[in-house]
């Protein structure tokens, strides 16, 4: 199965010159894809990239035919990528036009462009096959990508393109972030929204075209979609999300190409996507901001606090407790005994709870706007949440003009 030595070689860029160049390209591509994809996700246009990538196929076919016609090899990568870029732009214009000028929604426009351009591309591919001008291997690899058997020139081209895209993203990150984060503010700061959107689409196109040869046109959208969605679980801040997403993309490109180089029959494109998917699942489960486990933990902790507080108030009022969870929580903290009667510590805690409830009630009356936050805060010890002077003020109001705290 996996050859550890080969894997380490690949991770340290010592598995051969071509592999190293491809790995660098994949890292840059992953970073650019993750970053551009974040903007795309925030603009709610993730799947436009799917139409774009499928729309590259006719361009690749036509470029191949043209180059073969003029006596070239047909497999000349920059030419094929130029064709891909042109037909992707036509496809993108088609999506924009269908959404703007007809009643169709963007999903139908995307699907229509995607399927008809792809169909046309397949027609061209079969024409190329039946012409028998050979070397279709170079063309077929545009569907699912491949890094094995890549020529050195191709690897250079891709790495240079990836570097160029990464550079553009870096240069234009400020206007892009502004437009995604707050369109109105961006407009008042003098940023041309339409032009920035066009720039974004150009970057998406550039990532897609660069990714075609490595990841393939069916899966290249994954580079633009999976990293930002994974990053979404780690943070609520746009700037952090952009960085995290770029890192997820770069890591996917890096680990994916290394795995592909060290395991037989592990095609680079799908493996890069699978690595991204694994990182996504890990984020979904483990991320502190919005991850599932942390969410469950928080929900449990909250429910525990509610049971504790309600149980203590019941003790103070001398009521019997019937709720099983409440009894369990109180027993685990040794606030009640096995027979349900409160311990000394339980009585003390109950008095504290009642006092804090009373203070929180006054706090809420003074600050009605804080009701939402207070609903969670009031379950914690009040000294953790409010300053000493705030508490002193609440106690002063609680005591009333006589200055004596009422007996509890």
């Amino acid at each position: 199965m996996i050859d550890i030595a080969a894997f380490i070689n690949a991770l340290t860029f010592s598995a051969g010159y071509n592999t190293a160049i491809v790995a660098v390209g994949a890292i840059l591509l992953g970073w650019a894809g993750g970053t551009v994809g974040t903007y795309l996700l925030l603009r709610q246009r993730s799947l436009v990239s799917d139409a774009l990538s499928h729309a590259t196929l006719p361009g690749v076919g036509i470029a191949f035919l043209l180059m073969a016609w003029f006596g070239g090899s047909g497999r000349f990568l920059p030419g094929l990528l130029l064709g891909a870029a042109i037909s992707a732009m036509i496809g993108l214009a088609g999506v924009e036009w269908l959404t703007r000028r007809t009643r169709l929604n963007s999903d139908a426009a995307i699907g229509a462009v995607l399927s008809s351009f792809f169909g046309l591309g397949v027609v061209l591919l079969t024409i190329i096959q039946s012409l028998g001008i050979g070397r279709q291997a170079g063309i077929g690899s545009f569907l699912l990508g491949s890094t094995s058997g890549m020529l050195r020139n191709e690897a250079y081209t891709l790495a240079a393109l990836a570097l160029f895209v990464a550079f553009l993203v870096f240069v234009f990150r400020r206007p892009l972030t502004l437009v995604c984060f707050d369109e109105t503010f961006a407009r008042t700061s003098g940023i041309d929204i339409r032009r920035t959107d066009l720039l974004l689409m150009f970057l998406v196109m550039a990532v897609t075209v660069t990714g075609l040869r490595i990841v393939g046109l069916i899966l290249v959208v994954a580079l633009l979609i999976i990293p930002p969605v994974a990053a979404r679980f780690w943070t609520e801040k746009t700037n952090t999300m952009i960085v995290v997403s770029g890192l997820v993309g770069a890591a996917s490109g890096f680990i994916g190409t290394a795995l592909s180089a060290s395991v037989p029959n592990f095609p680079a494109g799908p493996v890069i996507v699978l690595v991204a998917a694994v990182l996504f699942v890990l984020s979904l489960l483990l991320a502190p901001a919005r991850g599932v486990f942390y969410g469950l933990y928080r929900a449990r902790a909250f429910s525990r606090k509610v049971h504790r507080r309600q149980g203590l108030l019941a003790i103070l009022r001398g009521e019997a407790i019937y709720d099983k969870d409440t009894i369990r929580v109180l027993k685990s903290e040794k606030l009640i005994r096995g027979d349900g009667t409160p311990t000394r510590a339980g009585l003390d805690a109950a008095e504290t709870a009642a006092r804090e409830e009373a203070l929180w009630t006054i706090y809420l009356r003074n600050n009605p706007d804080a009701a939402y936050r207070a609903a969670r805060m009031r379950l914690d010890p009040i000294a953790d949440r409010l300053t000493a002077s705030e508490i002193a003020e609440l106690e002063r109001q609680f005591a009333g003009p006589s200055g004596v705290l009422p007996a509890q």
Binding site: L41, W97, G119, V229, P270
Partner: protein, 304 residues
């Protein structure tokens, strides 16, 4: 009319048309519900389903493959909902995450298992092989009444007839709740229509049809037919039943013209190319939509 016309042309053309019409009918509701890309997603995840079924059973018989594909479609629909709810991202992004990840899994599994020998690869899954679904016993009109010859019909034909029947039955039985929940889900909910159930049933049926069509004609036709004819029909009329009829017409037109253009059409313009019929059918459906987008009476909609 050549002797082999029925077997070599009419049968595959009919199979293409059946797949196209089944997909197009359901596509209308996907377009109206802004769920067009569900078909795209489902068609992608069929691949891992089929590969897993192959790995588990070790055979390429149709039953397990259809089951595997249907299971994968169902799982993907659940996963999309899960990602959408947990990640609080737009449905498109959730869909993109799920279908690319599952498709990548399918490709890797395919490369890892030794499916190469049994003529099964990603390209076959994408393009299908409509041209190969011929009926060699169908020599002349007489064989249409010949029991032995009929038994030789490609089995895909029967399965697609069943799929189309399922679609028609679904439409007739659930017509009112389906229409109400499509156009006004809030009202439908208030009126006691099981909106979620209808939505789930629609997606399940899309999955079943997509899987059946996919196995017969490949992913391209399936995706194109779920979207293009219905989108074009949407530009023709404001009323639902005429829209369904237009979509059926466009689907038939795409299938017939596309198939013809891929075979005889190429010969007609004097080229010896053999061209993918699936790709051609998809391209023709896109061309029909383009014409409608330029000239159809209701292309702007009622509002503007």
């Amino acid at each position: 009319m050549g002797d082999l016309y029925i077997g070599l042309v009419l049968v595959p053309m009919t199979i293409g048309a059946l797949a196209a019409v089944s997909c197009a009918l359901l596509g209308n509701f996907l377009v109206l519900r802004k769920q067009s890309l569900m078909g795209d997603a489902v068609s992608h995840v069929v691949l891992p389903g089929i590969v897993v079924a192959f790995i588990l059973t070790g055979s390429i018989s149709v039953g397990p493959m259809l089951l595997g594909a249907a299971a994968a479609a169902l799982i993907s629909a659940l996963l999309i909902e899960l990602v959408r709810n947990l990640g609080k991202v737009e449905p498109g992004a959730a869909m993109g995450v799920v279908f690319t990840a599952l498709f990548a899994l399918g490709v890797v599994l395919l490369e890892q298992s030794n499916t190469r020998e049994v003529h099964f690869d990603v390209e076959h899954a994408l393009y299908g092989n409509l041209e190969s679904l011929v009926w060699l016993s169908g020599m002349d009109a007489g064989s249409l009444f010949n029991r032995a010859a009929l038994a030789d019909l490609p089995p895909q034909l029967g399965r697609l007839v069943l799929a189309l029947a399922a679609v028609l039955i679904f439409l007739v039985v659930f017509w009112r709740p389906l229409v109400v929940s499509t156009f006004d889900p809030v009202f439908a909910q208030a009126a006691g229509v099981p909106v979620r159930f209808i939505g789930a049933a629609l997606i399940s049926l899309v999955a079943i049809v997509a899987v059946t069509a996919f196995e017969a004609v490949g992913a391209i036709i399936t995706i194109a037919m779920l979207i293009c004819p219905a989108a074009a029909a949407r530009l023709m009329t404001n009323r639902l039943i005429p829209q369904l009829l237009w979509s059926v017409l466009f689907a038939l037109l795409s299938a017939v013209v596309g198939f013809w253009a891929a075979g005889s059409g190429m010969a007609l313009i004097g080229s010896g190319f053999s061209v993918s019929a699936a790709g051609m059918i998809a391209a023709v459906s896109g061309a029909i939509l383009a014409v409608c987008a330029f000239a159809a009476p209701q292309r702007r909609g009622a509002v503007n």
